[in-house]
Amino acid sequence: MTPDKKTVTVNLGPTHPATHGVFQNIIELDGERIVEAESTVGYIHRAFEKLSEHRPFYQITPITDRLNYCSSPINNIGWHLTVERLLGVQTNRRIDYMRIIIMELARIADHIVCNGILGVDSGAFSGFLYVFQQRESIYEIYEEICGSRLTTNIGRIGGFERDFSDVAIAKLRHFLEEFPKVLSEFEALFDRNRIFMDRTIGVGALSAERALAYGFTGPNLRATGVDYDCRVAEPYSSYTDFEFDIPIGQNGDTYDRYLVRNQEMWQSLSLIRQALDALPSDDYHVHVPEFYLPPKAQVATVMEALIYHFKVVMGEIPVPKGTVYSAVEGANGELGYYLISDGGRSPYRLHFRRPCFIYYQAFPEMVKGALLSDAVMTMSSLNLIAGELDA
């Protein structure tokens, strides 16, 4: 350090608790003001794209779990939709509605984490505890549907491995009853809280033009006032059947991002309620035996089932050649799968469009001139998930 250097270099991360994941931010401070920031990523890079080139299609689902692990069902279903698009498979309404229920639950779970932790980072711990109880209820619903909680591996290419049980429906109904109360309580704690507002309003603001230039998507883009949402712009999984609004903000600051996420939870709740009420009775999977493990009892007795079981496990399945890009509205932005198939057992190339990898590069610009404590709030409100960012 040269003696005439006026600024101080501070390493925020990679293991700082306020970074919520392994990110390193090298911040140049003048007093408490940030002069410059630089982000280093890649600490938990696991080569998912390379791995995917060596696995059959259905074995890629568990990889997608580990992208945004706060809302893995959205990733799973996004991948299934991509393969179904490649294969030209049309799912029925029941599958679509079941998927919507699960994806919206995942969106709520993800927003709970993001907004709850935003409160914690500003010094308010209690709101976080209230909503995390509800996240637990969501995980219990996942558990009832697919057997696992965090990395769900939910559903299959062409539908689901089993139907919603009565217990799952009862738990869903219970959640729909309980969660609005908790969410209202959470909002009452934060929305007009003077301290919270002072900490968030005008912090980490970005204009709509800059956000678009940086490729923002999801709630972060909508907080700047741009109403782009994959569920509306390119509807998938019968989202067109339902009535819902796209909440948008105005200033693109931390407070607006918080409000947009809260409003989205209300919309998701309404979507789940609509889908559950309108759930038609039909098969919970379509006929794609090449991708769908037959019932275990049949494998032992029916020859065709044994053949398909073998084919599915070994990945000896003809798939069409082609290139397909399919995007779903992930909890933190547009989650895209760019899949190139050469007709082989695994993708020729699979590229994940990870929303937070793309918008995290705006972080230095967002915190320039801000206080060090604002950098923590800004980072928290961006909903960065290290697993997704580093793929």
Binding site: G42, A208, V226, D227, P235, T323, Y325, I358, Y360
Partner: protein
């Protein structure tokens, strides 16, 4: 925000659903306009979006045209592909998106594998910065004019480009695994 017209307040949640696997009339119009100005080496309907291939010398001006003239304001993604057949080439695919018209357009360019270099899009889209660094990191494609072209996800001392097809899934430089014991 009224500058795009489309982004007013809350939009109605019921848009006319786009026709599955069929490009929007807008993107078809844009592609035909591009075809009259540049030589498109390939033009393909990829499940409802046009994918065009241009020559490396046209790449920057095509994307720049798409941004300024046709208002493709969003660079959704940019990635590399290593094609082995019919001849080994490295490709760069830029995913452009016109939000109000709900149209995606994929602009790809094929580069020779011994000297893969192409103009950087950072001057057009800030989002291209990390995307190009990632593509460089995994494929070794040089983006001319990039402000800071260094590895992003892999460590700096790495000398290989791991997503090229020749690179094995398991790192061949590792010597802590004995093939006789692991049955590889």
């Amino acid at each position: 925000m009224n500058m795009w017209g489309y982004y007013n307040n809350m939009v109605s949640s019921k848009p006319a659903p786009p026709v599955m696997n069929q490009p929007t009339p807008f993107s078809t119009q844009v592609v035909s306009h591009l075809a009259s100005h540049y030589s498109l080496l390939n033009q393909e309907n990829q499940y409802g979006s046009w994918a065009i291939q241009v020559s490396p010398s046209d790449y920057f001006s095509v994307v720049s045209d798409l941004k300024s003239r046709h208002q493709f304001t969003m660079l959704t993604d940019l990635c590399g592909v290593h094609y082995v057949e019919p001849e080994p080439v490295l490709a760069v695919v830029a995913h452009l998106h016109h939000l109000p018209e709900r149209s995606r357009l994929f602009v790809s360019v094929h580069l020779p594998i011994d000297n893969p270099s192409i103009d950087s899009l950072v001057s057009l889209y800030d989002a291209a910065n990390w995307m190009e660094r990632e593509t460089y990191d995994f494929f070794g494609i040089i983006f001319k004019g990039h402000p800071h072209l260094v590895r992003i996800l892999n460590e700096d001392s790495m000398t290989v480009f791991p997503l090229r097809k020749g690179f094995p899934l398991e790192d061949s430089t590792r010597d802590d695994k004995d093939d006789r014991m692991f049955g590889r």
